[in-house]
């Protein structure tokens, strides 16, 4: 027990103090590989990992020098990607001091960067990782009680759930609420939100051209602070996408029109009624993030919510990524995908929506999302169907490093398990 504690400590210390640890060369053999890449699913194949990257994948991979891990015919997938979470930014939801997902600071809205203040020791990280999640898009949210004049929540960051550094890439999207919430922030009406948004983007363009004049105090008054204006320049220059949360069909249409007219890139999030305008979303080439188990008519903008949403959007040709159930419940991401499959989506599409699709949506597909040579070796060996409750990971690798199969919750379990075990010899696996 102490030895294990000490080992964990060493691991975490090493991770903290040193840079990326040396990853060994190894071969995962005898696996059913859902590559999520061009190779499709390889029924019986091997993956060679070298220097933290995938060196080769296929039915015949020769690697006599590599340590061999026999997958025993089990399925191997890319690590899952959780889109739109507070992983690394939150410990206990109700404890403000342990929550860095939102700010009320005037002058820092678009400029708020979720890539700062990340906590690699967060006890949520191992819990999510144990369900096969290896990367996440940490997104800002709006602080409670903030309303008008805070249209943007801030910038999302891509993070890695194991090893150092935790930050993978800053500024992968700018978070913006439209629909009911956006209307509330603009003083109560959807029209006001879209109008202020256009005015702000006009300011940003003006600012970007006239920084020197601004510094001399010779520009018009802008609606936002300099920090916020600066943060929005990549958006108007199409270097950063807007992550727009929106649900009602008409709101989706408005968002698409706005993006077209303002020539900004967008990702739609939520889209409870997306299925009703699926063809338009597809035609615009806009990807969506959604929670496939959302089927409650939980608000007047989501009356059309249905479990068929993912299937219908995918069928229309929309690039679909899935979201989990938020923060502590991010581990349910894979069950959400499973439910979409149960509701008619193809299994491969369900898996893609938690791997390669979010990687594409956030521009990370050069590094993660599929099992292809050159990509970082985020791999999960599954003991069963990765999208089903009864399947569980039996090994997890991030950048080629085996991850500990433990979390605070397994520690709690192991502390109290002996009291209920019929025989003390029974061991626990993760």
């Amino acid at each position: 027990m102490i030895a294990r504690l000490a080992l964990m400590l060493l691991l975490s210390l090493a991770a903290m103090a040193a840079g990326p640890a040396r990853a060994e060369t190894f071969l995962i053999a005898n696996a059913r590989i859902a590559t999520m890449g061009r190779a499709g699913t390889i029924e019986r194949g091997s993956i060679l990992v070298r220097d933290g990257r995938i060196a080769a994948v296929g039915a015949d991979v020769a690697a006599p020098d590599a340590r061999r891990i026999d997958a025993g015919g089990r399925i191997v997938t890319p690590g899952l990607i959780a889109s739109g979470t507070g992983l690394g930014l939150i410990e206990v939801r109700s404890v403000d001091a342990a929550n860095d997902r939102a700010t009320r600071l005037p002058g820092i809205s678009a400029a708020f960067d979720a890539g700062y203040g990340l906590n690699p020791d967060s006890l949520l990280v191992p819990v999510a990782r144990l369900s096969g999640i290896t990367r996440a898009i940490a997104t800002p949210t709006y602080a409670e009680g903030t309303g008008a004049e805070r249209l943007f929540a801030g910038q999302a960051a891509a993070v890695t759930l194991g090893g150092q550094p935790m930050l993978m890439r800053r500024g992968v999207a700018m978070v913006l609420a439209l629909g009911e919430d956006g209307a509330e922030r603009a003083g109560g009406a959807r029209g006001a939100a879209l109008t202020s948004l256009r005015a702000i983007l006009a300011d940003v363009r003006d600012f970007a051209r006239r920084r020197a004049a601004y510094d001399r105090g010779e520009t018009r008054d802008y609606l936002l602070s300099r920090a916020d204006l600066e943060a929005l320049v990549p958006v108007v220059e199409r270097r950063m996408k807007l992550l727009v949360s929106v649900n009602r069909a008409s709101d989706i249409r408005d968002a698409l029109a706005f993006a077209r007219e303002e020539r900004v890139g967008i990702i739609l999030e939520g889209v409870a009624e997306g299925w009703r305008v699926a063809a338009e979303i597809a035609a615009a080439g806009v990807p969506v993030l959604l929670t496939p188990v959302d089927n409650l008519p939980a608000s007047f903008e989501a009356l059309g919510a249905t479990l068929d949403n993912a299937r219908l959007l995918q069928r229309a040709g929309v690039l679909v990524g899935f979201q989990g159930n938020g923060n502590h419940r991010e581990r349910e991401l894979r069950y959400n995908a499973g439910n979409a499959v149960a509701a008619g989506l193809a299994w491969e599409q369900g898996l893609a929506a938690v791997t390669i699709n979010p990687a594409r949506i956030f521009g990370l597909d050069d590094r993660v999302g599929s099992i292809e040579p050159g990509k970082e070796a985020d791999l999960v060996i599954w003991n069963g169907d990765p999208l089903d409750t009864l399947g569980r990971p039996s090994a997890i690798f991030i950048r080629g490093e085996a991850q500990p199969m433990r979390s605070r919750q397994t520690e709690l379990r192991d502390r109290y398990l002996p009291a209920v075990l019929p025989s003390p010899s029974q061991g626990a696996e993760p």
Binding site: M1, I2, L5, A6, L9, S12, V92, S94, V95, A97, A98, D121, L123, P126, R406, S407, R408, Q409, T410, E411, L412, R415
Partner: protein, 467 residues
């Protein structure tokens, strides 16, 4: 079926029924469950951990009675002190601990703690269960019902030699509620920590805290005279409540008084079953509180904080009231402006019951050092005090204040074997508790650190033992 849980309760009622003396044939019929104030509702389930026979040999032993035994031997059997003295032979079957060069004291007792009721992480509002700041009189609340046995502070205190603590409600109210005395053992429930047979206490607070809390809301008390009027009104009600119960028990007719939890506690004080622990800084206020006690016929066990106790030491000695205080803390508010380092030493020299307490999750880990600073200050003032005498401030005297001196606080044959083996004089800044026993069971061994009891730090930074 659903009444099976009643059986033990009925048995308990039957056991209690004989207790009140005037049990005449006309004694009232047993009341429905929960209507009779005398029933003990949240009984201790504390069981001492298995203990072995131990002989500690060669140590300097501060027994807590004032004595200091050089090269002493201490025998522990069945969780109790069997014998202590110099040159005792060690019988067969005792685990022998070579303690040469080391020191042994009774387990440290903290007479004033909020561990478990204001738990770590204490900057989180949800962890704050210490002050029921809703009424000036909340004598109806019991600290044990707030107590979280998983507070990491308990582990740290145990590793510093603290074996018994009194946990009190806070001082925002005139009457904060009942205290609970606990064994500092790893436990899942407060019942499993409760010191068997320890009397309850009542937290009473003088001075700035209640008047600031309620005065700030435009309510009484807003002044010290308001404080005193508040106490007196409550004691009048309690005396009347006690009278009505007495009358009903005597006559056995009519409706019994409606049980009132607040008055239960206050009446318990009037009947001498519940001890008064009075947060009170200033000498003049202590003098007033002694007169309040006289007016209503109860005794104050201890003035807590009592930073001006040195000004009225003889008065406290005459009234047989303990003074629990700090050494280093002072100056953060007006009523603590006159705190001096020599407070405990002066009370002690006057023949009083001086106690060094913590009131703090950091200080509880070094009560021995706080006592050492008090001892040093006393000596600087020319008072001749030995280590053997000074150790009582954190052992025998708090045991007396808590009403458990028959059980713990000194190393005498028959007492519970609550012990600390120190690697140096406990009055040295460098002293660490090598081993700690509670009821003869080893609960801490510095040479073999184990994962801590508290679940909170599991899987988090800082879970590993050294702390």
């Amino acid at each position: 079926m659903r009444h099976t849980v009643l059986l033990p309760l009925i048995a308990a009622l039957a056991a209690c029924a004989g207790a009140p003396p005037p049990a005449a044939p006309s004694a009232p019929a047993a009341l429905r469950a929960g209507l009779d104030p005398v029933v003990e509702a949240y009984p201790s389930t504390y069981r001492a951990a298995p203990a072995e026979r131990v002989a500690i040999v060669g140590a300097t032993i501060l027994t807590g009675t004032g004595a200091e035994i050089a090269d002493g031997t201490l025998l522990v059997a069945d969780g109790r002190i069997e014998a202590v003295g110099a040159g005792l032979a060690v019988p067969e079957g005792y685990g022998r601990i070579d303690a040469r060069g080391r020191w042994v004291t009774p387990g440290i007792i903290d007479a004033h703690s909020h561990l478990g009721v204001w738990s770590q992480p204490d900057n989180v509002e949800a962890q704050n269960d210490v002050n029921e700041l809703t009424e000036p009189n909340t004598a109806q609340v019991w600290a044990e019902h707030s107590l979280w046995p998983q507070d990491p502070g308990f582990d740290l205190a145990r590793e510093a030699g603290v074996t018994t603590l009194m946990i009190l409600p806070g001082s925002g109210n005139l009457f904060g509620g009942r205290t609970v005395t606990v064994r500092n053992v790893p436990a899942m429930s407060v019942q499993a920590m409760r010191f068997p047979g320890a009397p309850y206490g009542l937290k009473v607070a003088c001075g700035e805290n209640p008047m600031r809390t309620y005065g700030g809301r435009g309510r009484s008390p807003a002044s010290r005279m308001g404080n005193v009027a508040g106490y007196r009104r409550a004691w009048i009600e309690a005396a009347d409540y006690a009278r009505r119960w007495d009358a009903w028990r005597r006559t056995g007719t009519g409706d019994p008084p409606r049980r009132d939890l607040q008055l239960d506690t206050l009446a318990g004080v009037l009947e001498g079953e519940i001890l008064v622990h009075n947060h009170c800084y200033r000498a003049d206020e202590m003098a007033v509180m002694l007169d309040v006690a006289r007016e209503f016929g109860f005794r104050i066990s201890t003035f807590h904080h009592a930073s001006e106790a040195y000004k009225i030491a003889p008065l406290l000695v005459r009234a047989d009231v303990c003074a629990a205080t700090w050494t280093n803390w002072w100056g953060y508010k007006m009523e603590v402006f006159d705190a001096i380092e020599e407070n405990a030493a002066i009370v002690d020299r006057a023949g009083g019951c001086a106690i060094i307490h913590s009131d703090d999750a950091v200080l509880v880990q070094r009560l021995n050092q706080e006592a050492a600073a008090a001892l040093s200050a006393g000596r600087r003032a020319g008072l001749t005090i030995s280590e053997g005498e000074a150790i009582r401030w954190i052992t025998a005297n708090p045991a007396r204040a808590l009403g458990i001196s028959g059980e713990t606080g000194t190393i005498e044959p028959g007492k519970r074997a609550d012990l600390v083996l120190w690697n140096a004089s406990p009055f040295s800044i460098y002293a660490l508790a090598d081993r700690v026993w509670i009821d003869g069971a080893l609960v801490h061994d510095r040479s073999r650190p184990e994962p801590r009891h508290s679940d909170f730090l599991l899987g988090q930074p800082g879970q590993e033992p050294a702390r």
